[in-house]
């Protein structure tokens, strides 16, 4: 009887999911409610978790409840600590949740809500969750080894080298793109700039409070910091309305870029822990709280999606970024569907905290589902905007024109009516001078979020506060990623240079710290500056580059996973990691080829360089041509690295399957867990 009830419940979930998916996929010409998307997502995740992840756990990975994890065997109270699975889940989710799942879906909404939503759901269930889960488990079985170490020991030296180079590459491009998103959100915005500037003294105050007054009380300090940030947002309104003060905080994109580059270098090279650690805590606190609030806001408001299921821009002529729905929707949305960066977290801290091997399923697969749900919420936030408004915010001046009337006219001619007066009213409502040409996704997300929040709490009067709360949340979040990423990149370069000359590897030797910090900051600073100076807004060329780099890292992770699955003697189940790998290879190779060689100058870097070379020469022309060629070279290097690790992996698979090479997995020997015995007592 119980079994029958269970079957009926799962049939009900499957039916509800199918109905919701059919509704979002088949409705044309009329608006639908966002709850269809929420129901489709929840049912898809529930089915994926219950059936697919269970299949992987049982048949492919053969999770062993009797096997002791490194957290148990190597417990030292510091790195290796046996931890409650829900606590590890929260810790892992907080580590993988970044700005990517918020920005990517907003940009991909230019195709309509359907392509992005379907990719987020299928990509997560069959790709991202699988990657995070298997890499976590394989790391657990190897004493918490990192992805690079696993690539080296299981695939080969070249695989390890490619993984290392891919991580450095993705960090540099990611930080450049993230910084550009912040610059585009804060340029000519005294309110936003003031709020973010105030987080520096607030963090310092938190640092003093935490070290001097209440040592170790991080949560309490974060709540205090959050209250001060809310005060800063409220104060920002006053600053923006006071002419003299507003002038101080009204900065151009170039000025903001320089400030961020200086900040990144200082954060990496100087001992500014009093600032960075509290900011990190504050950012995490705001991030988790805002995601929870957004979920409640969507459920409470149940907003209508104004964006159509598909827009005319699936043909590749989109203003936000150029390129057809395939492959660009799948590159634009990385973190909400599959993100190579997660493999670094899954093979970092998390495997050292897991108490039982069987809990890897909930943490690895489950946390990625939660991350994917965040991406769905971001898609909803973008699609509750009127499409005309969405395109006015996200389209660069180079496409729609500089003047408000011209921009509104161009966008209306695309079939998405919007007027200059509507945009002016909206800008006034959110406390900005203008919302045109705010490329990068963050402002559009902030307007959508402010719309949801203000309709749920506070009404129209609080629209400006909510908008700047959202901008503060994203900028704070991204700046934390920026300073942490710069330091991680610096350490990685120091580790590598230490093999060449030992003093360079010493993390306390100042010449090495300065040199390696400068290398990383110059790397991402170059991309940031390029984006700031790009007449098309920078996102058009840089976000796809970031997507390709991130998916490249996922390709490396899936190559490692497939290799281990085959070596484990489970070749018949290798399709579990091979299928997403093949899809990613198709996406990254097509995307890279088009970004380098496409004849359309809005898509192909080289075609754009040729167009510039053939046009009238200006002071900027030479630099823009150089940037295009540099982007083409970077894309070429990234894709060559994918090819190298793919070939090395494929040769290894063939040898293992043909029996010409011994299938030797480098797992830690089995040790029985004490927890199993404790459970029986």
């Amino acid at each position: 009887m119980r079994k029958l009830v269970r079957v009926l419940i799962w049939l009900l979930i499957a039916t509800a999911g199918a109905l919701a998916l059919a509704t979002i996929a088949l409705h044309r010409g009329e608006e639908i409610n966002a709850m269809w998307m929420v129901v489709a997502a929840i049912c898809t995740y529930a089915l994926g978790y219950r059936f697919y992840s269970k299949f992987i756990a049982a048949k492919v990975l053969a999770l062993d409840a009797q096997r002791a994890t490194p957290a148990e065997r190597l417990e030292n109270g510091r790195d290796f600590v046996t931890t409650n699975r829900w606590v590890v889940f929260g810790h892992h989710f907080a580590a993988i949740a970044g700005p990517g799942p918020l920005v990517g879906p907003v940009l991909a909404a230019q195709f309509g809500y359907l392509p992005g939503t379907l990719w987020i759901l299928t990509g997560a269930v069959f790709g991202g969750c699988v990657q995070d889960f298997v890499i976590l488990l394989f790391s657990i079985r190897r004493d918490g080894k990192s992805l690079t170490e696993m690539a080296r020991s299981e695939v080969g030296k070249i695989g390890g080298l490619v993984a290392y180079a891919a991580i450095i590459g993705i960090i540099v491009i990611l930080l450049g793109v993230c910084a550009l998103v912040v610059v585009n959100a804060l340029k000519a915005s005294p309110w936003g700039t003031f709020t973010i500037a105030m987080t520096i003294p607030i963090a310092l105050l938190m640092g003093v409070y935490l070290r001097r007054l209440r040592p170790g009380k991080v949560l309490e300090t974060s709540i205090l910091g959050f209250a001060l940030v809310l005060l800063a947002i409220w104060g920002g309104q006053w600053v923006s309305q006071t002419a003299d003060l507003a002038n101080w905080f009204t900065l151009s994109a170039s000025a903001l870029a320089i400030l961020i580059i200086v900040y990144g270098f200082a954060a990496s090279a100087l001992p500014v822990w009093l600032l960075l650690a509290p900011r990190d805590y504050l950012s995490t606190f705001v991030k988790l709280g805002t995601i929870a609030m957004l979920a409640l806001g969507i459920i409470g408001l149940r907003p209508t999606l104004h964006m159509p299921a598909l827009t005319r821009f699936i043909d590749g002529s989109g203003p936000v970024f150029a390129g057809k729905v395939f492959p660009f929707a799948f590159i634009t949305i990385a973190c909400g569907a599959i993100s190579g960066f997660h493999a670094l977290i899954s093979s970092g801290t998390t495997p050292k905290l897991i108490r039982r091997e069987t809990e890897a399923r909930m943490v690895g697969y489950g946390a990625m589902m939660a991350e994917s749900m965040v991406a769905i919420m971001a898609m909803i936030a973008a699609c509750v905007l009127q499409p005309g408004t969405y395109f006015a915010i996200n389209s660069p001046a180079g496409i729609v024109g500089q003047a408000p009337e011209a921009a509104a006219g161009t966008i209306s001619n695309w079939g998405f009516p919007v007027t200059a007066s509507e945009m002016h009213s909206l800008a006034q409502a959110v406390g900005e001078q203008t919302l045109y040409n705010r490329t990068g996704g963050a402002p559009a997300f902030a307007v959508g979020m402010a719309h949801i929040f203000s309709h749920s709490l506070g009404g129209h009067a609080l629209m400006a506060i909510w908008y700047h709360f959202a901008i503060m949340f994203e900028a704070l979040f991204i700046l934390t990623v920026l300073d942490a990423g710069t330091r991680v990149g610096r350490f990685m370069i120091q580790d590598a240079l230490g093999h060449v000359w030992k003093p360079l590897g010493r993390t306390s030797w100042y010449p090495s710290i300065l040199a390696t910090s400068a290398m990383i900051v110059l790397g991402w600073g170059y991309f940031l500056w390029q984006g700031v100076k790009d007449p098309l807004g920078g996102i058009n060329s840089l976000w796809p580059l970031f997507g390709i780099a991130n998916q490249l890292l996922a390709t490396v992770a899936l190559c490692v996973a497939t290799t281990i699955v085959i070596k484990m003697g489970k070749a018949r189940y290798a399709w579990v990691t091979l299928a997403p790998l093949v899809w990613l290879v198709a996406v990254t190779f097509t995307g890279s080829w088009q970004k380098i060689f496409d004849a359309n100058p809005r898509i192909g870097f080289l075609a754009h360089a040729r167009q510039l070379a053939g046009g009238p020469a200006t002071a900027m022309t030479g630099r823009l041509i150089f940037n295009d060629r540099m982007d083409a070279v970077v894309t070429g290097i990234l894709i060559s690295m994918v090819a190298v690790i793919l070939i090395e992996s494929a040769i290894l698979w063939t040898r293992v399957l043909s029996g010409s090479r011994e299938a030797l997995v480098k797992e830690t020997p089995f040790v029985s867990t004490r927890f199993a015995a404790e459970e029986q007592v």
């Binding site: 109270g77 949740a97 990517g100 960090i171 070290r211 040592p215 170790g216 991080v218 801290t349 991130n550």
Partner: protein, 64 residues
């Protein structure tokens, strides 16, 4: 459904939730540090903890 179990269940959820927050915000790591070194909570102990913890933390990547 046994309604008397609900408060216990809620209590347990609340406990796990706060434990997760303590772990995310490094308060549990500080408690473990104190236990490991047999120290009482103090400014000096916390400064030592930060020194040890931050060296490891700064090598952890932040996801995009």
């Amino acid at each position: 459904m046994n309604l008397s179990l609900v408060p216990a269940c809620l209590k347990s959820c609340g406990r796990v939730f706060t434990e997760a927050l303590y772990e995310i915000f490094d308060e549990s790591a500080y408690t473990r540090f104190l236990a490991r070194h047999q120290l009482a909570p103090s400014r000096e102990a916390y400064a030592e903890f930060l020194l040890e913890n931050e060296a490891a933390k700064s090598r952890r990547p932040r996801c995009c």
